[in-house]
């Protein structure tokens, strides 16, 4: 019962279908307060679908999603925005901060936006246009946007995809900061098994259904991964390519 009280997210026998395909089958797991849980699995295995179902972007066929967290922040998978859009970071954040129906610029929301950007080390991006940001910078802004209403649980969909090595490392630090210092509970989809090994408390390996679930040193074992992926995946480097380093060597 104690574990239930601490649980921020409880998923039981979740089934999600898209058109006639069963994308997720009987997914069950739990995320507890303060945990950093990573979702791994092959492409097309339903990782992003799981996150979208959790935030209500996709309908579920059956199962239960019990959310104890008051507020859930969601960071979608996106690398950049069209250069035709001149929206500035402060303007983008004010779309959420401004409670007025009629919006015409950031106005007084700038102070709150600046504080939130300072929290994640991105205050220098305040006056930049979204279309000018690098992949890593844009991801930080999407995280700042998700953090604006102080969520208890943050869902991140492959935030490291397309980041260069430097961007990846600084991003790694940001995730540590959010989880360790702010105490944010995080559920993150990632291809980067090296990152997953370093940041997560729990790893959920899915390929339509849950293949394994547990601490990273138990889940990130060659036999588990080859079963889920159909082959032994290599480490994913910062630019999204596989580095062909057997996972077993990590342990």
């Amino acid at each position: 019962m104690e574990a239930d009280r601490k649980s921020y997210l409880n998923v039981e026998n979740l089934n999600v279908s898209y058109k006639q395909n069963h994308v997720l089958e009987d997914i069950s797991f739990r995320v507890e307060r303060g945990q950093f849980v990573c979702v791994i699995g092959p492409n097309g295995g339903g990782k992003s679908t799981l996150l979208k179902a959790l935030v209500g972007l996709l309908p579920i066929r059956s199962g239960i999603i019990r959310k104890e967290a008051r507020n859930i922040g969601y960071v979608p998978q996106q690398l950049r925005i069209d250069a035709a859009v001149p929206l500035r970071v402060d303007e983008f954040l004010s779309l959420k901060l401004s409670k007025r129906r009629i919006w015409f610029g950031p106005g007084q929301t700038r102070t709150t936006a600046k504080k939130k950007l300072e929290e994640i080390g991105a205050a220098h991006l305040m006056n930049r246009q979204l279309s000018e940001l690098s992949g890593g910078e844009f991801q930080r802004i999407l995280i700042a946007y998700a953090l604006l209403d102080n969520p208890d649980l943050l869902l991140l969909d492959e935030p490291m995809t397309g980041l260069d090595a430097r961007g990846g490392m600084s991003f790694d630090g940001l995730l540590h900061h959010l989880n360790d210092h702010i105490g944010m509970t995080i559920l993150m989809v990632s291809h980067d098994l090296h990152l997953v090994e370093h940041v997560s408390d729990q790893v959920l390996c899915i390929n339509r259904s849950v293949h394994c679930h547990g601490p990273p040193d138990q889940v990130l074992q060659p036999e588990n991964l080859s079963k889920a992926y159909g082959h032994l995946p290599g480490l994913v480097s910062g630019d999204g390519t596989e580095a062909f380093i057997p996972i077993g060597k990590l342990k």
Binding site: L57, Y74, Q78, D82, A83, P86, L87, Q129, E132, L142
Partner: protein
């Protein structure tokens, strides 16, 4: 120069430009950001069929009359909704839907009009005649502008969030489908209303060019909106003044005034290092 404008026709034309110019600039900002420039082009060209149908079915006989305006508004809205429905329900790309809707409707319009004996004036529909605007037209356009302004102000956050990421918009509780259909109806309404004054071939340019010019120099979305409205207003007024002074066709002169603003904005943007089309090492053509 202002003496030339002291005729009732020019006064009304000027009023239309002052009211509609900024509104088209504002609307154009969202149309360009949403990648719908060709959508508005297709609706305006398809209106040729509306003209043909209006005359053939005896709904309207005068190309510039209020009956024809009503026919055009209804027809443009129907074409817009049909294209939006096809975008949604088929796996065809938007540009493909636009291409066949556009050429199909133009072909049908030309055939219809060619069969109408004794009827020859396509020119008025193609290029419009802002000098024929009546007092009633001015009031109607003022009402339309209030509607457009209210829609954009009330839905600006939703429209912008959809441009950034549709999932974020959905999570914010925005009904994207409803918003898309309403936006399409708004574009169709503006085109249907203003087609008689601004012409099927020109109206889309008048919507898109001020927004494109403002993007070249704007450093924020708010700036883009304000500059786009300002360019729409100034190009309209200068275009009418120039056409009166130089005895040139009014609609095309307004379009050329807009193009002049665009060229100046591009030059200014290049000097200030703003508004580059390419930011990430890939050209616009790479996306095609």
């Amino acid at each position: 120069m202002w003496d030339i404008l002291q005729t009732p026709e020019l006064e009304r034309a000027l009023l239309v430009a002052i009211i509609a110019g900024p509104i088209m600039g504002l609307l154009g900002t969202f149309i360009t950001l949403r990648g719908m420039a060709f959508f508005s082009d297709a609706i305006s060209h398809a209106a040729l069929t509306g003209v043909g149908l209006g005359i053939a079915l005896h709904l309207a006989n005068d190309v510039y009359g209020p009956g024809m305006q009503l026919v055009l508004i209804v027809f443009c809205c129907l074409v817009g909704l049909m294209m939006a429905w096809l975008f949604e329900r088929t796996s065809l790309r938007a540009d493909t839907v636009i291409a066949f809707s556009y050429s199909g409707a133009v072909a049908l319009g030309v055939i219809l009009i060619s069969q109408l004996k004794g009827y020859q004036s396509l020119e008025g529909v193609l290029f419009g005649e802002i000098l024929f605007a009546s007092s009633r037209d001015v009031w109607m356009i003022l009402g339309l502008s209030v509607l457009v302004l209210a829609f954009l102000l009330l839905n600006m956050k939703a429209l912008l969030l959809c441009v950034v990421h549709q999932d974020l918009a959905r999570i914010a509780g925005i009904d994207i489908r409803k918003l898309n259909y309403l936006f399409v109806l708004l574009i169709a309404l503006v085109i249907g209303f203003l087609l008689q004054q601004l012409g099927a071939l020109l109206i889309s340019g008048l919507i898109v060019i001020p927004a494109a010019a403002s993007r070249m120099v704007a450093t924020s979305f708010r700036q883009m909106l304000l500059l786009s409205a300002a360019f729409g207003l100034l190009a309209g007024v200068l275009g009418i003044a120039a056409s009166a002074q130089l005895n040139l066709p009014t609609g095309p002169t307004i379009v050329l005034a807009n193009v002049a603003f665009l060229i100046v904005a591009m030059a200014l943007g290049a000097i200030l290092g703003r508004g580059k089309l390419v930011r990430s090492g890939t050209s616009q053509l790479d996306r095609v």
